[in-house]
Amino acid sequence: MVEKTPILDTFTYVFLMVGILIVGFPIIYSLIAATLPLEDVSKVPIPLIPGDQFLANMTEAWTRGNLGTQILNSFIMATGITVGKITISIFGAFSIVYFDYRLRVVAFASVFCTLMLPVEVRIMPTYEVAANVLSPVQALWDTLHLNGLVSWFTGHEFEMSLNWSLLDSYTGLIMPLVASATCTFLFRQFFLTVPEELCEAAKMDGASPMTFFRKILFPLSKTNIAALIVIEFVYGYNQYLWPLLVTTDPHMTTAVIGLQDLIPQADDLPEWNVALSGALLVMLPPVLVVLSMQRWFVKGLIEKEK
């Protein structure tokens, strides 16, 4: 720092260590509990020396909680949300920033209205849409009395009823969560900082819009994409309310929700060692993603909110 303050510096490091310990404590404590046999984990307080049941508890949690299937489901959901969001967003932002067309402002405004409103505020009607994703089309069809029109036109009785349920499917888990403008907003902000000259030069060389996108804009966006991959993966993996509603089939449950079954209730054996082993296993994928891609993650987090 600016001047020498040995006492304050010592305090700084002490406080910092205490802070890190407080933040890390729940995990350290759970890790210890996850290594203990049942009779030790039911003592209060538990022994602070790790036991030798770590693998046994992990295996028990894995099989009892059916974590293999559930982590795979979470993984598919998170990947789907990440890829879906980034793909539609980068093209959407490209359209909004680099083209001049009549409905540009309308498109822009309608997409950005969704910025702060997560799926949680409209769960009930979104659930109904997921139960029949073609219901908006059906409603439009009925409002325009197209049944009557078609019957009159063809001379036969005609009744159209569209039904396509997304419940208990990966599409149903993914799609409603893709409907959000956060990534589009980030790409827009980034594209606006890309120098005009690049686009002018590309045009002068006769590049088509898609060539410009492929050869110049996409390579420039790679860091942003890496950052968004981390953020959206964690976001998707950790979703709770939407998967809870849209899946009823145990084979489609995601890991974060499935963990609920491992928590000991009042009348059960207090098998916290198994429950915590399960919790540690389930949190591992997103934690690893964040730690291994830390640099992009921090950059992305801060850029996203500018």
């Binding site: 910092l16 680099y98 083209f99 067309y101 893709v178 993603v289």
Partner: protein
Amino acid sequence: MIKRSAFKSSYLPYILILPQVIITLTFFYWPAFQGLIQSFQLSDPFGQRSTFVWFYNYLEIFRDPLYLKSVVTTFVFSLAVASVSISLGLFIATMANRALKATALVRTLLIWPYAVAPAISGILWLFLLHPSYGIVALGINKWLGLAWNPVLNGTDAMVMITMASAWKQISYNFVFFMAGLQAIPKSLIEAAAIDGASPFKRFWAITFPLLSPTFFFLSVMNIIYSFFETFGVIHTVTQGGPGGSTNILVYKVYQDGFVGLNLGSSSAQSVVLMTLIIVITVLQFKFVEKKVQYTG
């Protein structure tokens, strides 16, 4: 805003934005519109018929003491989560910024709770604060002499979900404060030091005011976080209990809609919640734009 050198094409921009528009229309505007309509209707328990009742559902929820209690609970909860996690995040970031040598290591040690799902954070804290098995609960009992029982006592339950929800937000706030601190020009701090200001004085007179944009931004983000994402914590830890003392608005929407099957009321609650978030967001933009103009 648009590029000066925009491309011209009669069809390409429409094709490019089409997927986003279709998804937004299907999964955002259509449900939002349906929700709005349902909030003006009363339907029978079998969902067969519905009658238009104007603002009946809205009047009902604002007359319902349980709903008003839930509103208060939500505000208490979100303010508690925001203040605990922001102050701890700021404190640790300030310390980490002083310990210049270890910044990267400290960041690695503090950043990972961000990746822990709220529901899992709930499980970890449920174990720590469990009335019969939790070590922190034991500490509260023994050293503070308080009878701790989140299963029966509403205040205890509130403290428990606040801890579980604030814990994982500390790292989020830490990252932003760290970035904010590093953006403050060293010369300002040095000039103040030469004028004889102590480190504490410098923090309150220079660092803290310069962090105000980060501070306001994080307040809004933490409040929105505690409005919605904490659903996982509540569903795993308390299920809104005991006696509705942790029944925050989003949990009540879920319970009335999916468990109680009261469509009209649940939709009206959703609309109120949506309006609330829009108001908070608009206020944030206005306030931040007017009040806070320092960007390092």
